[in-house]
Subunit: 195 residues, 6 copies
């Protein structure tokens, strides 16, 4: 099981929340950057919509590289790989958007991701965060995995308010409307050690 939460020592790995036919689950968005020519590789049995989220996340970072003090040419001179374990499970949908965005931002800056944080939300090319479904199931899964903080779209606040209070104990929520807020909350100033 995935209940032992990874410690985020490695840059580029972020915890997302998934909603499947058998309930909520956490998943890891793993990203890795190597010297290259701007190729994007996507693995983990991803459907088309989920692949599009990765494209949007990467294009958005390119267009807003100044946010992260990145030079434009770092994108041209890098290959980017995003993987979502576990390979045997097909995955799809737009709700990993902010998780992918954060993973890529962490990989490019080598800034560590905050510990014990998870997130779910669709991204857009203009920088807005959109609400997603399955919030209750995702929150329960996050708790089981010892997550402490969760980032959601402001428009998902109502879904949280409909959950009984006892299930929310120990969880801090961040409701956001813009993708920049996600990065400000999730990325620490601490640099990862190259492993």
């Amino acid at each position: 099981s995935k209940t032992k939460y990874g410690n985020n020592d490695v840059a580029g790995v972020v915890t997302g929340l998934a909603w499947t036919s058998v309930g909520g689950d956490i998943l890891f968005i793993e990203s890795s950057i190597t010297q290259g020519k701007g190729k994007l590789t996507l693995t983990g049995n991803l459907g088309d919509v989920m692949k599009e989220s990765a494209v949007i996340a990467l294009e958005f970072l390119k267009a807003h590289s100044h946010w992260l003090d990145l030079q434009q040419d770092v994108f041209d001179n890098s290959n980017v790989h995003i993987h979502v374990p576990e390979g045997a499970t097909p995955k799809d949908g737009p709700s990993a958007g902010i998780t992918m965005l954060t993973a890529l931002a962490s990989s490019f800056t080598q800034r560590k991701v905050k510990k014990n944080i998870a997130m779910t939300g669709e991204i857009t090319l203009r920088g807005e965060v959109l609400p997603v479904g399955g919030i209750k199931e995702k929150i329960l899964a996050a708790k089981r995995a010892k997550i402490k903080e969760i980032i959601l779209c402001e428009k998902n606040r109502q879904d949280i308010e409909e959950i009984e209070q006892e299930y929310l104990k120990g969880l801090t929520f961040h409701f956001v409307t813009e993708m920049k807020e996600v990065l400000d909350i999730a990325l620490t100033q601490e640099k990862a050690k190259k492993n």
Copy 2:
């Protein structure tokens, strides 16, 4: 819901009108331009016909770059990304043509789009705007989203005349036959701040 209308602070984002099996809706055409080699990326779960609209819009702008005081080489040295939220919803058809054209023109010129305006219409390579379907449903959706001005093909004027007057209160219509008219109406002279 999408009823809170975006304020168009960002260049490259334009409000379109969609007609789906569950009625009318507004949608955003988001475009973004980064340094590149002329690649066009399309995301948002788009069908083939809708993707073709984006190709036509971009090719038309290239061939008429003088309208917007753009140099030819800006197209060769840019990558263009068009995204249409929400990723989980499949979208198709030619009716987002003028919206895509306006979004790209705004992105390339960084001229802001007029506030509270929406549009729907097919585009052609020779610069004509063609009529589209679902006008009544689209108009109702536009009103719900606080849209004030709407651009339509002249040949859709009759569809508007068949709608009861009370539903049209507060809406200004622009009926056009040529794509150049769309750009003249929708693009302001104000430049967007880089965000």
Copy 3:
């Protein structure tokens, strides 16, 4: 409806005749040329056979560029786009061959197409025009659209002779066997103004 016939002010647009399950119709073949590296882009919901017609037309012009006083390198340094409105309607078959050929020849030379002319016929790589089907329905559609002259394959002459005379009033027919004849008839010596 398409009954108001375009005035051919723009080079590269030619009126074709289509035969669909609901009768005859006119359609526009639109072409546009921009600075590029020889890429051919085809839009308008075209089937494979119709796309092949565009490839044949372009290759034929390349191989016979001297007919139009074109330099060989104009093809290498141009991107060609052919679009056939309306995007929502799937289209297929070889009968737009001569229309595509004429549209491309007009685009490359910027010579205007004769007003009020329409055409239908398959093309070959050796320069012959082949007959096509649905002639009666296409002729009726052309008349409704105020077409005055029609180019057909010589082998379609018999189909015209089988139509009652009253339907042909006001129409002039050109029966051809070679693709060069089509260009000689359809292209004027007048240059289009860049729009």
Copy 4:
């Protein structure tokens, strides 16, 4: 109908024999060569096996360019287009192999093809001609089209011997085992005029 036989004034066009569900027919293999970088374009609604024949024919000519006094770099600096009218009819099978080979050899050398000749046979990469089916139907179609000479695989001789003598009157047969024989028979020493 195709019964009026083309006069082979143009290099690169060769008459083949086809066998379809409705009987035998002649078809034209048209080829054209333009300045380029070695691209092969295939049109005419061809199936995979027929496309493979074109690839084999071109590769074989490259490997045996000395037969035709061609320089190796003519292949690298040319684009080759093979088209088989009529576009609306799907075509497949390996039997146009020798016809494609002859058409390409004629295009590259600009040597005219012998008048009133037709052919059918599969090709191989080692230069052998293989027998094909539908010989009786193809011969009848050739006669109807006023063909005078026919090239066949030696192994199809028996199929000819089974045809009643009266159907063969006026036809000369060439039975071959090697692809070089086909070129020797079908290509004249006369150069085509550029048309």
Copy 5:
């Protein structure tokens, strides 16, 4: 049959464990490196998920090339081929991940793989080894093939504990959590002779 175990004289070949509808089996992951430009070729009738494992393994090695004292440019200047006999059998799933990783590491370093070792486990981009299914069947197949040591994910320890002791006689197990441990166990310091 595959029961005679290969002697690992050749670098780049590693024994994996497969679980099919007819029970467990061993399989060989074969890899080969030639001078090139970074192309990855995958053969052996592999499904998409298994192909993704190879991509992940290669990208992970690129990002952690310092572990193996490899220069970055060795990846840019090599073509990598992974083959999994037997070609007639379709194969899929993520469980060959650590086997592929080890095969590639052996190929790039030319370090020999330990004799009589086999392994099964999914890999991730962040370096974790994930558990896989069919452990009992795989262990029985390994024994039949005279395997002596087996590498498994720590989370598969419980599956081993559920197997009766007599079936495990003569087998040594290595339970790992990180991909680096796999390489440390499986790769010897002995260099392969070029064969």
Copy 6:
């Protein structure tokens, strides 16, 4: 029929043994090399597994070019074409592996293949020959085609021992375990004349 066996005057052509629904047959693997940039072209209506055999054979030769005294750059500067007549017959499976390997080795070295020899066996990337099915049917077909020597995998020896002695008269068998043995047996030291 294919019973008249080719005389192997041409380098690059090797006789294989096929097993189809209608019994055994011989087939020819034809290969051809032209000046190029390393492209591999496969024709002959081949299925995916058979195409993979060609890829493995070519990659294996690249990695073991020293066996044949070939320079590495001969592969980078050549295009390779493998064709398997007859185009109308779909073919698949891994059993042509050693035949393809031998054909390519003969093409690259221009060494002639031994006369009256045929072979069948799967290849691997590590140089092993694997057994294949349909041995009895293949042997009978080889006899009908006047084959004198046959190369098989050592693990197919048992299949031969099960065939009645009278069917084997006049046939010499070579049982091999490694791909190098195949080349040593099948390739003569005599160079082919360029044809």
